[in-house]
Amino acid sequence: MRNTLSILVADEPGELSRIVGLFSSRGYNIETISVGKTLEDGWSRCTIVTEGDAAIVEQILKQCERLARVREAKAVTSQPHIEREMALIDVNALTPDDRAEIKNLVDIFRAKIVDITHDRMIVEASGNKEKVDRFIGLLESFGMNEVVRTGYVAINTLMADKGSALQQTA
């Protein structure tokens, strides 16, 4: 089962390697990882997509919470959530027809053309896993030179937050 974990960790040297090290030393898998600043100074949010059943995910979260500089570790996927990934795709566009067809796909997928030469384009696409995967799949027939993906970030929906807030007051 695919799970997206959200880990709030102090923005200090070495803390990311502590989390990554925990995953490798305990044999957990990392499909994607992304890290960024949060609203709060000194704290980063690390989003990790991993494979594992509920028991494994629970164990991963508990292991993360043992770390002195981890303030919170949760599975975003256990609640309604929104997940996004961005991809930059260097795709061949050798003929005017190809260019038009790619432009078409870009419009359908609400992607963006961010660079272009007479025979290639760089396309920026974002969305959930299915959308980005399908878009890349459709570009395959043109011949792609490179795909760069950011890994996923995820956030619980406002409804999910409301749900947990209600639970807390009850």
Partner: protein, 589 residues
């Protein structure tokens, strides 16, 4: 969430309580003062280039901190562990960068596996040259990352005091463990004119109270009504100081108790409710009891593979209750039916209170329902007791432990190395109290025994401390004998000499068709002469009669004694449940 640190940005100089706190001082002095502030009066170490400033300050503060110079950094960390294991206090060690740090790694990992509180200071090359492959540079932070509870690379002298304070809190709080502070040389020379970062607001070191009354009530009911209960208790009992609560609870319920290797001493071995140790080399009664119990109450344990054997058939009929301070231990290897995250002592005390609330009626009815269980337990105990082999002509290793027990009135602190002698000591020395038994359980570190005993003896100067070691492990760290001599630490080292790496030989005999591949240690130094060369008393025994007199003579000696006890070469540890198998595959002899 435990140990969660929130960085407090306000500067608070009050954190440094000593009067000279506001006087500018170099990092090394900040470090040593911080160690003193955290209660360190004993530190083990070995100097080197990167820690010269620190050693300069240790020299200035030598009346407040006694430094013990070991002969190898592994010895420093094991000695600090022995000190910590004997007292429950945080052990401290200091080593230099590069090889000093890598030599310390084995000790740090040993402490990590057994949840022993340590603070290890490692020197580091100056910050500006980190990453340039400088002389004696190694990435200590990275190397120790997976074997510490927490570690630091200090980047600013103004953070140092707060880091040391937090390191001690983290090491001792919750489930204890080692903390490494990697300290670049230039930081120890930098002048600190006050802390930049005041403190890390880590959770307090005090054990959390047991607040989950609902679960406590459920467990209390299960305990009262269980027909075939067993307490399976581990190092958590020792760490938490829960032995008395455990004894009271077991007695109230008339429920049997089996300790793990790390839990030995947590329940008196000679107590009528004790089944002895469980697991791979546990007693027949303890292992049978677990496999037929209907309620397994696991307290301060982690379902180690040396205890459970084959997981699927461990305690197959039991409802499992797991009480542990570390949430990640719950369900890590075996999913319990009921779990309680709590320190052992408050949990057991809460259970005692809950049981008292229910009155004597249900308790008496429950005890009556357990009479059949006790018939079974007694039957197992009597049918396959632990047998101390004896012989007129040669010394049996089990006999050595029994004789040692007699000669020390059962009061000695026993520190072991790892291997057959360790298992025989666990089986045949009945322990009366916690912290009377010190051993490397999780990591199984050969070479642990002698230096750990050194640290324990220093912590407990009034007590007899005996390092029981094998001829293999002894040779891994015997250089620390000179440390004992130098500081007049009256250590007793008992070498059970069978001329083999005995446990490996036993497995080769039992599981590898007696192919004794590279286990022969018959070419060894003369241990008596070796002891004498160090300035210790060396005594050899090769017959049972010599054993008795040698033990007496050595225990009477005021200084360091090394016994070379020549035992039966090919004796095996029984019972044994082969790795990954279950009670049904227990080999009794």
């Amino acid at each position: 969430m435990r140990d969660v640190a929130t960085v407090v940005e306000t500067v608070e100089t009050a954190e440094l309580s000593d009067t000279s706190a506001n006087k500018p001082m170099r990092g090394a002095e900040v470090l040593v003062r911080s160690l003193i502030r955290n209660g360190v009066d004993t530190i083990f170490g070995l100097p080197g280039g990167a820690v010269l400033h620190i050693y300069d300050e240790l020299w200035r503060f030598r009346d407040e901190i006694t430094h013990y110079l070991v002969r190898h950094e592994q010895g420093a960390v094991h000695a600090a562990e022995g000190y910590a294991r004997a007292t429950g206090k945080v052990g401290a060690a200091v080593v230099t960068s590069g090889p000093g740090a890598t030599n310390a790694v084995t000790g740090i990992a040993t402490a990590y596996m057994d949840s022993i509180p340590l603070v290890v200071i490692t020197g580091q090359v100056p910050l500006p040259v980190i990453g340039t492959d400088a002389f004696q540079e190694v990435d200590t932070f990275g190397i120790t990352l997976p074997i510490v509870k927490h570690n630091y690379l200090v980047r600013d002298v103004r953070d140092l005091a707060a880091i040391v304070d937090e390191a001690f809190r983290i090491a001792a709080s919750g489930k204890p463990g080692p903390v490494v502070i990697d300290l670049p040389k230039d930081i120890t020379a930098h002048i600190c004119d006050g802390p930049r970062r005041c403190h890390y607001d880590a959770a307090s070191a005090a054990a959390p109270a047991c607040t989950d009354t609902q679960t406590v009530d459920i467990i209390a009911d299960r305990l009262i009504n269980a027909e075939r209960p067993v307490f399976y208790v581990g190092g958590g009992i020792v760490t938490s100081g829960a032995a008395y609560a455990l004894i009271e609870l077991a007695e109230k319920l008339a429920a049997p108790v089996t300790p793990t290797l790390m839990g030995l001493g947590g329940f008196p071995t000679a107590h009528k409710l004790s089944l002895g140790m469980l697991g791979m080399h546990g007693t027949y009664a303890a292992n049978m009891a677990v496999s037929e119990s209907d309620l397994l109450v696991a307290v301060g344990v982690r379902f180690d593979d040396r205890v459970t054997g084959k997981l699927a058939t461990f305690a197959p009929q039991a409802e499992i209750i797991h009480i542990d301070i570390d949430p990640s231990n719950i369900g890590k290897v075996k999913q319990p039916h009921i779990s309680l995250v709590s320190d052992a002592k408050p949990a057991l005390e809460a259970l005692l209170a809950a049981i008292a609330e229910r009155g004597d009626g249900p308790l008496a009815a429950g005890k009556a329902a357990r009479l059949d269980w006790w018939k079974k337990l007694s039957g197992w105990r009597n049918s396959v007791p632990l047998v101390c082999e004896t012989s007129e002509t040669e010394i049996k290793p089990q006999q050595v432990i029994e004789e040692l027990h007699r000669a020390t009135n059962g009061d000695a602190v026993i520190v072991t190395d790892v291997g057959q002698h360790q298992m025989w000591a666990a089986q045949f020395y009945p322990f009366k109290r916690t912290r009377q038994w010190i051993t490397s359980g999780g990591l199984g570190t050969m070479g642990f025994g002698l230096p750990a005993a050194l640290g324990a003896q220093l912590a407990l100067p009034e007590q007899t401390v005996v390092a029981v070691v094998g001829d293999g492990g002894f040779q891994m760290t015997n250089q620390e004998l000179i440390t004992a001599i130098q500081y007049n630490i009256p250590l007793k080292v008992l070498i059970m000499n069978n001329g083999y790496l005995g446990m490996v030989r036993q497995w080769q005999e039992m599981f590898y068709d007696r192919a004794y591949s590279e286990v022969d240690l018959s070419i060894s130094p003369d241990f008596v002469k070796l002891a004498e060369a160090y300035g210790a008393q060396g005594l050899r025994a090769t017959t049972p009669a010599e054993l008795t007199s040698a033990l007496r003579q050595g225990l009477e000696h005021k200084g360091v004694t090394v016994w070379d006890i020549v035992v039966t070469k090919e004796e095996n540890v029984f019972p044994i449940i082969p790795a990954g198998q279950d009670t049904r595959n227990m080999i009794l002899k």
